[in-house]
Amino acid sequence: MANISSNFLGIKSPNPFWLASAPPTDKKINVLRAYEAGWGGVVWKTLGSQVKNVSSRYSSVDYGGHRVMGFNNIELISDRPLDINLKEITEVVKLFPDRAMIVSLMADNNKKAWHELIKKCEDAGAMGFELNFGCPHGMTERGMGAAVGQDPEIAKMVVEWVMEKATIPVITKLTPNVHSVVPTGKACVEAGTNALSLINTIQSVTGVDLDTLVPNPYVAGKSVFGGYCGPAVKPIALKFLTTIAQDPTTSKVPISGIGGVSTWRDAVEFMLLGSSTVQVCTAAMKHGFRIVQDMCEGLNNWMDEKGFKTIDDFIGKSVNKITHWEDLDINYHHVANINQDKCIHCGLCYIACEDTSHQAINLQNENPYNIYTIKEDDCVGCNLCKLVCPVDNCITMEEKRVAPEYINWKMWQEQGLPLNDH
């Protein structure tokens, strides 16, 4: 059995799966249930000045009959009184001292407010902090959340205030509502943050009700941009994560990955691209805390199969696999192959290729099952047919290098090689 325990800047947890700062972590009853289910840690829902929420606050995007492919919320930071939160944090830490207890913070924009909040939370038993510089709705209109994370100078200033006071590890959570997360990430690292986490939610409108013509979520005839998360945002999160894991400055600190993690597979992907721990919210909100069991078992089994003894053995292993386009090997070529024994004759590969790609699939009319075969000479190897095929491993991409040697775009230009393949 592999060891899946995590040690994040000295904050230990039995597994690398934390619940992200969000509704599931805003009170004792939820957090105790999460710990009983097996979660490694929580980031307690953001504490700060007292706020008031509206009633209707979530909406989602369904796809192909599946609910909540993407999820959005317009909830603010914790709306419960600070002293109740602090008291419950103390109680929870006492009951589960082996789990990570990170507290998310978003104080008003002055040093004194931050310092007071830090002191109170440390006294309550917090093991680390996560600075919420990312919340994209509501708080931004008051100059907090994403308004801080979108401006590296302001972010740096706040991190400096925090580092003056905090005696426990500080993670700064980055907003994806920027062209690049690197400038703010760098500023925060330079200001002394001990770690980074990303991504927070993405500003979004999940849809419009076609009867009322009011966008979602509906609040008395109006709506507002919400923060998008869930499986739909995972690819965006992985991209931002990679940029942080690759940058020479930001890669010096550990990263806690967030954004659409629903299964152990998602978690492993985040870890391969540089996350030391991962944070989950939407999947738990959809299915409850019990999902962590398969996350632990799946991770364990995968590590055993791959021969990884601890999570540190594979964290970051895929970071350098993402390169620049101009470094890609132009002589690499592969073509699709359709396994006729597995083909169910749905024609999805054919119509995708014929209408939108390279007309590289041959249709032989039969009744009722047409026969589809690849025209190898016309296939550019784009992968589209393989992606749309509903049968696992029916279409495979077979490597057929143009030439054995590596050649990239820069070399190609230097050598004056022909550009037009057609």
């Binding site: 192909g64 009959g65 169910i344 004759h345 749905c346 024609g347 999805l348 054919y350 119509i351 249709l363 009744n367 009722p368 099952y369 047409n370 509903p390 049968v391």
Partner: protein, 448 residues
């Protein structure tokens, strides 16, 4: 003893309730619809005699465009709702669903088809508009699936259509010839009314060709004539005892069930049904459901050669009907003029005949079934005399068509449906009606 009123009202109601319940909720329909892969040049569509664009209508359910979905169905098959209940889908659309090749159950195409099309009928959605009248008049004989399908296409194109129907209701065998638990007479009536709601189709009921009117009159008064009068009663067995009381024709038996209260239909204690096609199944299952104690289906070949679908045979077996394979009726024994027993030759299979199926050969042994009622379901007879009288080229009464699959040898006279093929599925008749309409439009030089 042959008697009616064997069961309580509740039992009749249970026995004849729809075996094709609708999706109870929109969610259930969406789960089923989302299973569809949206195949290109889809095998299900190719397997449908009317070529309904099945992936399209299912996709339209998932986008909650139910009107569009119903339109897609009716555009290809105006009897789409009824066909969703009576089609042998396991050998057509659902039998071809690509999920079968994944060793997975197919998409519930028929049930989804009913979902959209029945909704359209319930809500009386106007999905088609007729073009303005072009002054052309067409007479159609028979308001069954072929006749009404032809009429609907013609009406859409602005042709004035008059249908002559021998019964008092439209729908043909859909209304009069199918097991009540598959499709109720009330549903058939709604479906026919919905089809006719397009306007421009006048149906004259209780009008029999050759009795109440002649083909000459139609030829004189209309620009074209479409014959869709279907097929007649069951072939005779030509064995001794066939005229005894208690020997019944399946078509007649089923017709009575369709046109009377169930409690008024007499049925024997022990019933033998002769034949193994879908009509035989409908006769056997309904005998059982009317309260017969024992029902035995008698067939001269083996299960492998049956002409009904496996699905149909399963219904009969689940109803408790027995099967007697390799038995050919030889004689019906009687007592006081009533059926007492059925004597059958025990058969064995010989060389394949013209149909490619092995020929049953008597072994010399016989087997006797003690029964008090015998229902014959051994294939229907074409209206040979009528067809001969009106001078149509035919093959043993089955009208022969020209290369367009709709013209007869008489100019301006077209035909389709069971009168041509000797009795196929309702869905085949619907397609025949469309083919007929296409040929008539071309004959009348109407561009559609």
């Amino acid at each position: 003893m042959i008697t009616n009123n064997r069961l309580t009202e509740t039992q009749y109601e249970q026995n004849f309730s729809d075996i094709h319940p609708m999706f109870e909720t929109k969610d259930a329909a969406l789960v089923a619809a989302n299973k569809c892969l949206f195949c290109y040049d889809a095998p299900c569509t190719k397997a449908c005699p009317t070529s309904i664009d099945i992936p399209k209508f299912i996709k339209q359910i998932t986008t909650e465009n139910i009107k569009g979905s119903a339109h897609t169905i009716f555009q290809s098959n105006i009897f789409g709702a009824g066909c969703g209940k009576v089609c042998p889908v396991e050998k057509l659309c659902e039998g071809s669903c690509v999920y079968n090749l994944m060793e997975e159950t197919p998409v519930q195409i028929a049930k989804l088809q009913r979902y959209s099309s029945e909704k359209a009928i319930e809500e009386n959605w106007k999905l088609f508009e007729s073009k303005p009248s072009n002054g052309k008049k067409v007479a159609i004989v028979g308001a069954g699936p072929a006749g009404l399908s032809c009429a609907h296409v013609l009406a859409r194109e602005g042709v004035d259509v008059t249908i002559y129907e021998k019964e008092s209701k439209g729908g043909g065998l859909m209304t009069y010839g199918i097991a009540a638990y598959k499709v109720t007479p009330a549903f058939c009536e709604d479906e026919v009314n919905y089809i006719l709601s397009i306007g421009g189709i006048d149906v004259k009921y209780n009008q029999t060709l050759g009795k109440d009117f002649s083909l000459e009159e139609l030829q004189k008064n209309y620009h074209a004539v479409y014959l869709a009068f279907g097929i007649g009663t069951i072939n005779k067995l030509n064995i001794p005892g066939e005229d005894l009381v208690g020997v019944e024709d399946a078509i007649h038996f089923i017709y009575n069930i369709r046109t009377n209260d169930f409690k008024n239909i007499p049925v024997g204690d022990r019933v033998a049904v002769i034949g193994m096609g879908n009509t035989a199944i409908d006769a056997a299952t309904q005998s059982k459901r009317l309260g017969a104690k024992e029902v035995t289906m008698v067939y001269r070949r083996t299960e492998a050669e049956k002409t009904c679908t496996q699905h149909e045979l399963d219904i009969a077996r689940l109803d408790g009907c027995a099967t007697l394979w390799l038995a050919a009726p030889k004689e019906i024994m009687g007592e006081n003029g009533k059926v007492k027993a059925l004597v059958c030759d025990v058969m064995k299979l010989g060389e394949p005949d013209v149909s490619g199926r092995p020929t049953p050969i008597p072994t010399g042994e016989t087997i006797t079934l003690e029964v008090d009622m015998i229902i014959k379901a051994t294939g229907q007879k074409p209206y040979t005399t009528l067809v001969e009288q009106i001078g149509l080229e035919n093959n043993k009464g089955k009208i022969i068509l020209q290369a367009d699959k709709a013209s007869t040898n008489v100019k301006g006279v077209f035909a389709g449906g069971d009168a041509i093929n000797g009795g196929k599925e309702a869905v085949d008749a619907v397609q025949a009606g469309k083919d007929g309409a296409a040929s008539i439009l071309s004959y009348l030089e109407i561009k559609n």
